[in-house]
């Protein structure tokens, strides 16, 4: 395959973390398709990214871009059928998770990689108490007794700043508010002290004031534990606040990867430019918003060449013929646009 990003030169992992340094989690040339009655939807078409200890990678994209499916594949919770992994690797500490046994994978889940979901109410089991669902992990995975597990679960609830953790232990999810539920889910995912946390739209369903509380909490816990975090979101505001690096996805591909400052200051892909331009800004009332014309492609019928070409204001004949590979431009950033160099070098 010609369109694979050769991942950048490895750099030392976060120092002083007490954890093994280097590449923690790597996704390489991942391909996933959904086989449905109506045809085959190519949902992920060669995604490559990595996350190191202590850093936050934001995966940014609109609905249908494949950002959540990538996360589900990493966790091994992809619905099969209809979803099938057709290629690529997901390496955790260098070991491919897609080829290991179910038992090995199970050991990684929770302790190696954990995940929090957008909708905490449907992610928590309504017929068990919140405390039980957290304590369960300590009993099964750590072999603790019921009372020790309960103690640890209360500690976890305390760590995510749930007031009156002891009293809240025996509450059911419906007795929690939206923000509290999200905290409980964070407590659950961090219970086994994972090295990587995948947060799939963790604040999308929450109000802004609560969103700020939850993002603070996540940042704090990540710092303390030197976790690697993959933050999946569509919100360019949240990303600007917390991300170290950003991978922008479109139609199942990464179209741009850069550190957060470069990406906002000088996007190197017309799609990223369009996204940034179409956010309503607090300081620009009354002006027409610049938009990205048209719609994202149908994944059963992705246009030839660059998948963004029908919507791209800069499209040239070459864009309709040749798929631009994700190539390094300068240091530490990559773009999948034939004209990336021109974009970065413009004034």
């Amino acid at each position: 395959m010609s369109d694979i990003l050769v991942s950048e030169q490895s750099k030392p992992g976060a120092a002083g973390s007490g954890r093994p340094s280097g590449r923690l989690l790597e996704v390489e040339d991942l391909r996933v398709e959904f086989r449905t009655r109506d045809g085959v939807a190519k949902v992920i078409n060669g995604v490559t990214y990595h996350v190191d200890a202590g850093e936050t990678l934001a995966v940014l994209g609109e609905s249908g871009s494949g950002k959540s499916v990538t996360a589900q594949t990493i966790m091994g919770i992809l619905d099969t059928p209809p979803g099938f992994v057709t290629g690529g690797q997901v390496r955790f500490h260098g070991k491919d998770m897609l080829t290991m046994s179910a038992e090995e994978r199970r050991r990684i889940r929770g302790e190696g990689i954990a995940m929090i979901f957008q909708d905490a109410l449907s992610a928590l089991n309504p017929v068990f108490t919140v405390g039980f669902q957290i304590a369960e992990q300590f009993r099964i995975r750590r072999g603790l007794s019921r009372s020790d597990a309960k103690k640890r679960a209360i500690e976890m609830l305390d760590q995510v700043k749930i007031p009156n953790a002891k009293g809240r232990f025996s509450n059911y999810p419906h007795q929690f508010s939206g923000g509290m539920r999200q905290r409980a889910m964070i407590a659950m995912s961090l219970a086994l002290d994972p090295e990587v946390l995948i947060a799939d739209e963790p604040t999308t369903a929450l109000d802004v004031t609560v969103q700020a509380q939850i993002m603070d909490l996540l940042a704090e816990l990540q710092r303390e534990r030197q976790m690697g975090m993959i933050l999946i979101t569509h919100d360019l505001g949240v990303v600007a606040d917390v991300a170290d690096r950003i991978a922008v996805m479109y139609a199942g591909r990464i179209v741009e990867e850069a550190n957060v400052y470069d990406l906002y200051a000088k996007p190197a892909h017309p799609y990223t430019m369009g996204l940034i331009d179409s956010i309503p800004r607090m300081d620009e009332r009354g002006q027409q918003l610049r938009t990205i014309k048209g719609l994202p492609p149908n994944l059963m019928n992705i246009p030839p060449g660059c998948p963004f070409n029908p919507r791209c204001p800069m499209a040239q004949p070459v864009c309709r013929e040749k798929l631009p590979p994700l190539l390094q431009i300068g240091t530490d950033r990559a773009s999948a646009c034939h004209f990336a160099e021109d974009l970065v070098n413009r004034d």
Binding site: E62, S63, P163, S177, G178, G179, M180, D207, V208, T209, V210, Q211, A212, Q213, M215, D216, H234, D235, L236, G237, V238, V239, A240, D241, A243, V260, Y261, Y264, A265, G274, L275, I276, S278, I279, P280, R281, M282, E284, R285, G286, Q288, L289, R290, T291, I292, K293, L295
Partner: protein, 337 residues
């Protein structure tokens, strides 16, 4: 621009909370909207912001008279909508239309686009005689940027943004003066959201519409609104021009809300201080006494628990604010709570 097209006075909507199946007993009330007064001027956009559960959607429903208010009045050009019924209400509803949040559930999946947009003409045949309806629908499709050829398609054949355009076309069918938009773009992706916002602005300029624009996204509201009302637990806590609310907010809740909005600029990361509100919004069944925000407010004093602060212009401020201690405060200034 000065004529008030809609005047809302002391609007209250309480929903009873009942217990028991056969012998129902009212054990309390959800005070969804609890004394809201506002005006909408011809041709302007009034933004209404607030977090979930603050009563902004109930307000929309009462403004449309989809729900009868418990008390208070909604005056449209001197007529109290909340007292009308039957033919008089139907005639008046032509002038006030609603665009709903979810473009997936607000369109009947078994009706074609032509039928969906043409349905208002069935109820108000005086707007378009039978023979001309299809042409009218095609005009509307064209107006909202959809292909008139798609008149026979079904909603599932359209994307979210296109469906929201269908919802807007349907609201425009009867040539209303006022459109109430209840979170019209919150279900859409950023790039699509911008398209729909531009469409709403274009339509306002072309057709002279007045909008009540309800949303939880403060940047979206600012982008479209001339004036903004901030709601908290069924009450308006601050109201003013877009500039007054966003540049010189005086109510602590507005200040906290604004400071919590993530800014899409990483270089400002460490410069802005977020006012951290603790806890969640209290239940509207038993809101706190006095000022409803006092349980989360860093300025709260004894007086806040005793006296309900009125929405009025106070010294040190140029617009109405419902806080005993209303004062300007630089959003950038640090004030960790």
């Amino acid at each position: 621009m000065t004529e008030n097209i809609l005047e809302v006075r002391d609007l209250v909507k309480h929903y009873p909370v009942t217990r028991g199946v056969v012998f129902k007993k009212t054990i309390g009330h959800v005070k969804a909207v609890d004394g809201v007064s506002l005006e909408l001027k011809a041709g302007e956009t009034l933004g209404v912001v607030g977090e979930s559960g603050c009563g902004k959607s109930t307000l929309a429903r009462v403004l449309m008279n989809l729900e009868r208010p418990t008390a208070g009045s909604v005056n449209y050009k001197g007529q109290d909508i909340s007292k009308l019924s039957g033919g008089a209400l139907r005639r008046l509803r032509r002038q006030i239309q609603l665009v709903m949040q979810d473009p997936y559930t607000s369109l009947n999946p078994r009706m074609t686009v032509g039928d969906l947009i043409g349905e208002p003409f069935e109820i108000h045949p005086e707007v378009a005689p039978k023979g001309s309806r299809r042409d009218k629908v095609k005009e509307l499709l064209d107006l909202v940027g959809l292909n008139p050829e798609h008149i026979n398609r079904y909603p599932h054949q359209f994307s979210g943004g296109q469906r929201q355009r269908i919802g807007i076309a349907r609201a425009l069918a009867l040539r209303p003066e006022i459109i109430i938009c209840d979170e019209p773009v919150s279900a859409l992706d950023v790039s699509i959201q911008a398209q729909v916002m531009n469409l709403l602005e274009k339509l306002q300029a072309e057709l002279g519409l007045s909008y009540v624009f309800i949303a939880h996204d403060l940047s979206v509201v600012r982008h479209l609104s001339d004036r903004v009302a901030v709601m908290y637990l069924g009450k308006i806590v601050e109201i003013g021009t877009e500039d007054e609310i966003y540049e010189r907010p005086t109510h602590p809740y507005t200040q906290a809300l604004l400071s919590a909005v993530p800014v899409p600029d990483p270089t400002l990361r460490d410069q802005k201080a977020i006012i951290r509100l603790t806890g969640d919004v209290p239940s509207p069944v038993s809101p706190p006494s006095g000022c409803r925000f006092r349980t989360r407010c860093w300025k709260a004093q004894d007086v806040c628990a005793e006296q309900v602060p009125l929405l009025e212009i106070r010294s040190g401020s140029d617009h109405p604010s419902a806080c005993h201690f209303a004062e300007k405060r630089e959003i950038v200034a640090s004030h960790e709570v």
